[in-house]
Symmetry: C2
Subunit: 126 residues, 2 copies
């Protein structure tokens, strides 16, 4: 189960967002124009790689993601952390906070998240 290419990621993110669908439906939600046959090629690769399963309903196959987005997301974040911050996720986060535009609400939510993380750490770790 290697890494997703960019086309594969596009497909997966449609499935993550909209659930099981057949190719023609995925095509509609696809982030850019793509031919049905091209899309199906990618689906077959995802099937081989084990990232999706499919099930026949009527005459069409419905494809479903087998893995949650978190895994892929975190693995990409870790790679970025390694490339840009010697592997430190907290430096990565700090850089984002400093440079991205955040609303007051964003900020107060982040405070809460950090507090909560601190609590978990001081208790049983985990």
């Amino acid at each position: 189960m290697e890494n997703l290419t960019s086309g594969e990621l596009e497909v997966m993110s449609v499935l993550w967002k909209h659930g099981s669908m057949k190719p023609a439906e995925i095509q509609k939600y696809f982030p850019r124009p793509i031919k049905n046959a091209a899309l199906r090629s990618i689906l077959l690769i995802l099937l081989e790689k084990g990232h999706v399963r499919r099930e026949k309903v009527g005459k069409a196959f419905y494809y479903t993601s087998k893995t949650p987005p978190q895994n892929e997301f975190l693995s990409r974040i870790r790679r970025l952390a390694k490339t840009f911050f010697q592997g430190s996720p907290s430096n990565l986060v700090a850089q984002i906070i400093r440079n991205e535009k955040l609303s007051e609400q964003d900020i107060s939510e982040l405070k809460k998240i950090v507090e909560e993380k601190a609590r978990k750490l001081s208790k049983g770790d985990k």
Copy 2:
């Protein structure tokens, strides 16, 4: 000035970390074994794309990054935010904090960063 392929990013990150170098030197710091000629091919592409400049010193070209790592880093983060969090960088950050292991020191630094961001926002924005 499109996006960096993974090989191109490997080269850029060596230049970001170690500054101007000639191919043979970059090769030494490269994250994996690579033939000199293969490396130089990538350097030429980076040159065309405008990500590096080069300057002859003696008989060798010294290559220098023209763009700071921040740009590339943030653009990748924004792409991930779009793919995984409907574009919200703060949700992206929250997810990382919840899932990655952080030390107490990491956490108190993050608190500081968030506080500072809050101050900047309440003042003149920016």
